[in-house]
């Protein structure tokens, strides 16, 4: 597909075949034009989405983030719970790519510097400094501590790990117990990202059922649902979430807390979905192509499945993408305040809670790195959602 036909796509509607003929453009009847008119809706969406470079890049970034989260064991250099008091609050070690040999030449090779602890003779404050005499070689696909892929297949190969198993490597620094921040951020992604997805699917499920029925049946039910969503939406989210999460008993096991928090986040999330679904349902019912299908004698089932669902599914997918970041931010905020997820679970919010005290933050600013992960993820998902929305709605 060339640039011209891509532009054509932006200017014209799929249904505007007649218009194209009127204009009598020769290209429109060429092979490319043919391809354009027989393309499925999803293909058209993809073509349109592809033009949006930023959205495309964001999609790649988003997929990459999810892949890293799924195969966290491989991408993380260490077990996120492995601690060593010796390296508490150790600063990040920059990776070095080349080394000088004795005769002044340059030798390529990955390594980092070991730490050396210096103590201030007056204040007795201990600080880490890099020991440039002791180099720790690191290697891609090195054998590290054992882990399991998806909790099933045991493995040892890590993307990047020190050649010697017990050598210290803290590319993004260490936390208060000497745990590797990078590994913790990567494992934190598993929970932060999945809570976003699960939460959105839950609210989407509730929204599509409640909103769909309200829009379809109308009348009193519709009125009640409308008032209920309006009511829930009028309450500021954080106080509501805080109140509900405070009700989660502290004795619950982490998995239960995880589900409880997801449900709490969805409790308000579904209202947005219900509104969208209901609105779409109502407006689609009035569309000409639905009327045409009805006049054609298509059954209700066929109208819903063949015409209505495809024309709002794409839109819903775009909305889902845009709702995930909100969920992620919600979880992060709750855990940050200490009312969401709690250790031993690792999420970005749980990690950021460690950065709450200014005193700690000033001496170890690398504790803010999980925040960078949040911003990057949310940014990528927002751009991707934007692009999807534009691609999903041919009238935009």
């Amino acid at each position: 597909m060339t640039q011209e036909s891509a532009q054509l796509l932006g200017q014209r509607n799929v249904a505007d075949e007649a218009l194209v003929e009127e204009m009598g453009e020769p290209e429109a009847t060429s092979a490319e034009g043919e391809e354009f008119f027989i393309a499925s809706q999803w293909q058209l969406m993809w073509w349109r989405f592809r033009r949006h470079k930023l959205a495309l890049i964001s999609m790649i970034v988003t997929i990459a983030i999810y892949v890293v989260a799924i195969f966290a064991g491989f991408f993380a250099p260490f077990d996120p719970r492995a601690y060593s008091a010796k390296y508490a609050y150790a600063p990040p070690q920059p990776i070095r790519f080349y080394d000088r040999t004795a005769d002044g030449g340059i030798k390529l090779g990955l390594y980092i510097y070991d730490y050396k602890v210096e103590q201030d003779p007056e204040t007795y404050k201990r600080t880490f400094v890099y020991d440039t005499d002791r180099k720790i070689p690191v290697r891609f696909f090195a054998e590290g501590t054992p882990y399991t892929i998806l909790g099933l297949i045991p493995a040892r190969v890590r993307l990047l790990a020190p050649v010697e198993e017990n050598a210290p490597m803290f590319l993004l620094g260490a936390d208060r117990l000497g745990r590797d921040m990078l590994s913790r951020i990567i494992f934190g992604a598993q929970i932060s990202l999945s809570i976003g997805l699960v939460g959105v699917f839950l609210s989407f499920f509730l929204g599509i059922i409640i909103g769909g029925f309200a829009g379809y049946l109308g009348g009193l039910l519709d009125e009640v649902v409308q008032r209920l969503t309006e009511f829930l939406r009028s309450i500021p989210s954080i106080p509501l979430w805080l109140g509900l999460s405070a009700a989660v008993p502290p004795g619950w096991d982490p998995l239960m807390v995880y589900f409880a928090i997801t449900v709490i986040l969805s409790l308000r999330g579904w209202t947005g979905m219900a509104r969208v679904v209901r609105g779409r349902f109502l407006s689609l019912r009035e569309e000409d192509f639905i009327l045409a299908a009805q006049l054609d004698g298509a059954s209700n089932w066929r109208i819903v499945v063949r015409y209505m669902v495809p024309s709002f599914l794409s839109y819903i997918i775009a909305r889902i993408t845009m709702a995930v970041p909100g969920m992620i931010l919600g979880e992060t905020s709750l855990s940050f305040l200490g009312l969401g997820l709690r250790p031993p679970l690792i999420s970005w919010g749980v990690l950021l809670k460690e950065a709450q005290l200014v005193r700690v933050l000033v001496s170890s600013p690398w504790l803010l790195y999980p925040g960078l992960a949040v911003v990057l993820t949310v940014l990528a998902m927002n751009f991707m959602g934007d692009g999807l929305r534009d691609a999903a709605d041919p009238y935009a």
Binding site: F231, I238, L337
Partner: protein
């Protein structure tokens, strides 16, 4: 217009009642109560608590009755005496504790709103008039980052930077000498000196959102035929802009007050905790953690009511500014 206002106020009443019910429900949810925790604490120190004392305490806090009765008693006292119950944790009436903090929350939200508007308007107009310029791209890019960064993260970063490089603490809303003092002119000035930090932090997301809305609105208007007509008639660009498109683009400022207020109250809760501001946030959090139910419930209820009333006010302003809304509203 009066009819419209009356109708809206009438519709608001069940919403407010619903909010009070939900707030009470939320705080009655946690298993166990403050009292149980308190008794366990006393017993831990080696003292004995008799059943009589427990009954007395229960009766004093009204905890011996079933939850619906507790709610009705609570509501009755609020509506008739302005009494929100007693805070177990502080040992004082809730009404004594909350108004100061709620007032400061309102002041903070209001300051943020003013800041958001005064920043968003010129930037959005610039961004729309100079569409696709470098400035427009920079604004759009910064806007997206502003939307993606959680408030509390911004607060943490700002706190870190000011601590590290300026050696000052940006937390708090007053200098130490004004804390707990009555409001004087000097205190107001001191408040303004402090409030801009949380206001900027809270306002970033809202400003970014508002810029996008106003920019999109204005762009829609700028491509309409009447603008072209006016331009072809030789109207100077600045006058042309101010005459019609700008007025229409102003709508979002009022129509978004509702949700931006909700966002502000939400954001203020968490940012106040980070910056330790004397607003509702830290106290609400503490009350929730300590199961101080009347205090927590009053906060949740009043914060929610505040946003509902704020939305109503913005709707009324919007109806006053734009007659189309007033007319459309009467039929629903």
């Amino acid at each position: 217009m009066l009819k419209y206002i009356a109708r809206r106020v009438f519709v608001m009443i069940p919403t407010l009642l619903g909010i009070s019910l939900l707030s009470f429900l939320i705080i009655s949810l946690p298993p166990g109560s403050y009292l149980e925790a308190y008794i366990a604490q006393v017993q831990a120190t080696g003292e004995d608590v008799t059943q009589e004392e427990i009954d007395q305490l229960e009766a004093r806090f009204g905890l011996d009755k079933p939850v619906p009765v507790q709610y009705l008693v609570w509501m009755k006292n609020i509506l008739t005496k302005g009494d929100f119950g007693i805070s177990f944790d502080w040992g004082r009436p809730v009404a004594e504790l909350i108004w100061d903090r709620l007032g400061l929350t309102v002041a903070l939200s209001f300051s943020t709103m003013i800041l958001t508007w005064s920043l968003a308007f010129p930037i959005a107009v610039f961004s729309a008039v100079k569409q696709y310029s470098i400035g427009d791209y920079i604004v759009t890019f910064l806007g997206f980052i502003g939307l993606a960064t959680p408030n509390f993260l911004l607060a943490l970063i700002l706190m870190y930077l000011s601590f590290k490089y300026l050696d000052t603490d940006v937390g708090g809303l007053f200098s130490t000498e004004y804390m707990g003092q009555a409001w004087t002119w000097a205190k107001v000035v001191d408040f303004l000196k402090h409030v801009w930090v949380p206001a900027v932090i809270l306002g970033v997301g809202g400003t970014a959102g508002l810029i996008r809305t106003v920019r999109a609105n204005l762009l829609d208007e700028l491509h309409k035929p009447y603008v072209r007509t006016a331009r072809s008639k030789g109207l100077p660009e600045a006058r042309l802009l101010a005459k019609y498109p700008l007025r229409l683009a102003l709508n979002p400022f009022f129509s978004t007050v509702g949700w931006s207020l909700r966002g502000l109250v939400s954001g203020a809760t968490i940012v106040s905790v980070v910056l330790s501001l004397p607003t509702t946030g830290p106290m609400l959090l503490r009350a929730l953690k300590a199961q101080d139910m009347y205090l927590a419930g009053s906060f949740i209820m009043l914060l929610s009511s505040m946003t509902v009333i704020g939305t109503l006010v913005s709707d009324i302003i919007l109806a006053a500014v734009d007659p189309r809304i007033r007319l459309g509203g009467t039929e629903g």
